[in-house]
């Protein structure tokens, strides 16, 4: 075979391509390394990966779940013959938020599954455990939940169906989350059949706080008011409306609650008194595309930053809707639906100057000896509205308590801002009672959302529960 001359150009190109490809492989390795080091923990803690995580149970005793003051919310007890049972010392007090782990996993049991099944004891003990064929102790998950607040919410709701949630608006820490009716997680296996197939109206397994979809009623006026403020910057208080208890237009009538005549109303008064006539009337003028856009900005029809299972809130009204639909929708009737947790997030964002902090339930993860493995920090989700808009809404919410439907929260000890709601959901039944609010109004430390199903008026049924929560948190 004849010998060609060495080809420097070809060799240069071969080397060029070689470097390119080696570079590509280094890039791919970095990508994989980033996935393992940074992303994998969130990725693998997925219900679709439960089989793998559950296999950790062969080597690790599922860790404890604690409240923020160290009370045990869930623990695994090993009997003498070695069988493990998950015990919930608080009974049904934390049933939905802590969840259960034997019939599938829910609540924090599911959210923190990976941490509970990881063991960060020191390597020597671990080696000794392995030598002795003994399981290692799983890590402890310390939640943000406050046992006192949870108990007060639980007691205050009593036998009524509904939900009470409290969080710190400045951090996103969830302090309490109660949903009624409850179930006893200790008896979940025995009662499973009944819980799943029994009385469907009870829906005891449903976490109403994050999964219950309700018409927002007058709490939606916060959003309507914000849209009106956006369309009339600086001059929205010029609005006037004469209320005689029944607002008639064309062939429709809109009633105020119990047909109360509010008389001459300006914008703030109409909001404070929750005057349906005034809002239905001003709603007719609103830019409906803008209102839909605003709703979606405020997390309707989209994913929300909630780490446990939740339902998406729904807002459907489009531009071109008829007068009746508008009149209903702007006062929170119509086909709009939202969860209590969503309502609480909106209230928290207003309290926090427009910035929504991501709600979180896990404070930190510790190993069995109490050494911190992982600490969770408050994180901003995003600005839902401008600081000016939040300020405007804060003034409206304060007036609700000082001059309007929130009179149950009037006290010398601290100031409250909030909004009541009484949402009709079925003809002939009592309305669902809502209250969302925060305190102290000038420097918010806690935000609360209450819903009492068929509780009647928000001011009478829901606001007093919020009052108890504020008292306990602020006067403690």
């Amino acid at each position: 075979m004849k010998k060609a001359k060495p080809n420097p150009k070809a060799n240069r190109n071969i080397l060029l391509i070689t470097y390119l490809i080696v570079g590509l492989f280094i890039g791919m390795s970095v990508y994989l390394g980033y996935f393992i080091q940074v992303q994998s923990e969130d990725v693998i803690n997925n219900p679709y990966n439960s089989a793998r995580l559950n296999s950790f149970e062969e080597r690790v005793v599922r860790g404890k779940i604690l409240s923020d003051d160290g009370s045990i919310l869930a623990e695994t007890i090993i009997s003498e013959n070695g069988t493990e049972t998950r015990n919930y010392p608080q009974g049904d007090l934390f049933s939905h938020v802590v969840g259960y782990s034997s019939m599938g996993k829910t609540g924090i049991e599911s959210l923190a599954n990976y941490y509970l099944l990881s063991s960060h004891i020191n390597p020597f003990t671990k080696a000794m455990d392995q030598l002795a064929d003994k399981k290692s102790d799983g890590d402890t998950v310390v939640t943000t939940l406050d046992k006192t607040m949870q108990s007060i919410a639980y007691e205050a709701l009593g036998d009524r169906k509904g939900a009470v949630i409290a969080m710190e608006p400045g951090t996103g820490k969830v302090l309490a989350m109660v949903s009624k009716p409850t179930f006893d997680p200790n008896l979940i296996d025995e009662q499973w059949e009944d819980l799943v197939n029994g009385d469907q109206t009870e829906a005891r397994l449903l976490n109403r706080a994050t999964q219950g979809l309700y018409p927002p009623g007058s709490t939606f006026k916060i959003i309507t008011a914000l849209q009106y403020m956006r369309e009339h910057p600086g001059m929205y208080n010029d609005y006037r409306f004469g209320c005689d208890g029944i607002y008639e237009f064309q062939r429709f009538t809109i009633q105020c609650y119990h047909k109360t005549a509010h008389g001459e109303q300006d914008f703030e008064a109409a909001f404070a008194n929750s005057c349906n006539g005034a809002f239905s009337s001003l709603g007719q003028e609103l830019d409906l595309t803008g209102l839909k856009h605003l709703s979606e900005q405020l997390l309707f029809n989209c994913e929300q930053p909630i780490s446990i299972p939740y339902s998406k809130s729904m807002y459907v009204m489009e531009d071109g809707a008829k007068e009746w639909e508008i009149a209903q929708t702007v006062i929170g009737q119509g086909s709009t639906l939202m969860t209590p947790m969503h309502n609480l997030m909106l209230t928290s964002a207003i309290a926090n100057g427009g910035m929504l902090m991501q709600p979180y339930l896990i404070e930190r993860v510790e190993n069995i000896n109490g050494e911190i493995v992982k600490q969770f920090m408050p994180a901003q989700y995003g600005e839902l509205m401008t600081a000016t808009e939040a300020k405007g809404l804060q003034i409206l919410l304060e007036r609700v308590v000082t001059d309007g439907t929130g009179s149950a929260l009037r006290t010398e000890a601290y100031s409250v801002a909030g909004k009541t709601g009484s949402a009709e959901f079925e003809k002939g039944k009592e309305t669902h009672a809502w209250f969302v609010g925060y305190a102290p109004a000038e420097n918010p430390e806690i935000a609360v959302c209450v819903i009492v199903e068929e509780g009647g008026s928000g001011g009478k049924a829901a606001a007093p529960i919020a009052r108890q929560m504020f008292d306990a948190y602020l006067l403690h």
């Binding site: 190109n13 080696v22 390795s29 996935f35 296999s55």
Partner: protein, 440 residues
Amino acid sequence: MTNLIVEISRYLIILLIAIYTYYNFRFFSMKNEEDRNYACSRQLVCMFMLHFLANLLIVLNTKSEELILFYGMQVLFFVCYLSLSKFFYKKISRLLLNNICMLLGTGFIILTRLNPERAMRQFLIVVVSAVVTWIIPFIIDRVWQLVKLAWLYGILGVLILAFVCIAGNTSFGAQLSLTVGGISVQPSEFVKISFVFFAAARLYRSTKFKDVAITTVIAALHVVILVLSRDLGSALIFFITYLFMLFVATSNWLYLGAGVMSGSAAAAAAYNLFSHVRRRVEAWRDPWADIDDKGYQVTQGLFAMGTGGWFGLGLYQGMPQKIPVVDKDFVFAAISEELGVIYALCLLFICVGCFMQFMIIAVKMQAMFYKLIAFGLGIMYITQVFLTVGGVVKFIPSTGVTLPFVSYGGSSVLATFVLFNVIQGLYILKRTEEEEYEEG
């Protein structure tokens, strides 16, 4: 006690492959023959220790005496293969030889863990392949007439692919294999090699525009038939290989640019024409959106690697069987899950080490024909590695190709043996040349 052995060997295995990989790259900066031999001997020590530890774990877990015997046979094979190769081919590349054993060894370990029956079948194929391809370096070294058979390679390749496209069995939506006497054969694996020979022989002859055009038409015919067989992974490998070979043969940037553009256009067309291409792309973009169906394989792979972490869960401690096609396309995920991501990355860089060795040979070869063969086979090999691993780690959409020497599959093993032995032949040829030069 067993637990402690399991724990310690888990880390030891990682340490051993890390040392092995270190020598693999250290080797390139060694000039001295003695140093190089020393590095290669060290590598073998690591390889055999690692292989022993992993098989110890396998036997401890399965308590199977059959698998002890299987381990013994593997060791016997490696010892014979290494020593006989070195005995018959004095100038053989020891580094490549070691790498072949390391890749095969890892393949045996993970396949035994996943499915011992398949592992034994694989072993049988490996032994047969090693024996029948043993003669290849000899042929490459002596028979220079290979360069004259360009049309034979080209026509044979097209005919075989066309036949498979028409008469092949369908698996995972692609016509890939033929069943001959009860054995399923995947002819495209072998056409890969004839294709490189075809392109090398043609491009060596002439790089005039007219000849290049004819060569390109035949090469494109290969690719088109593969696309019609819906074997898009192979089509992509053929395309990239030819494009780079053409570029190196002609040093013409215009060809490269035109190739890249037509390739992108073809990719866009494939995306719009074929639903299975769209599926793969969507599964890559956001596997979580359709975790039950499209994204299932990718997410299971990510779960496996993520749960395994840097150090792995240990052999038999994970659930690699949950990943669809784990012993072929997704073997990298199974290795990551149980042996650790560090192990898997070392393995990846052993493949890159092989590729670099191929490229060094390509650079050193004087004759353009040999240069192009070494280069073309190297590109073919590394593209396949990139596509399979990239697909598993979600770096690129998954294309359904296998990891050479590691994944289960007879045709792939035989074809990869042919590929490595052709390269060995070129390496021997070069060293003989160098020695003659020094003596002369």
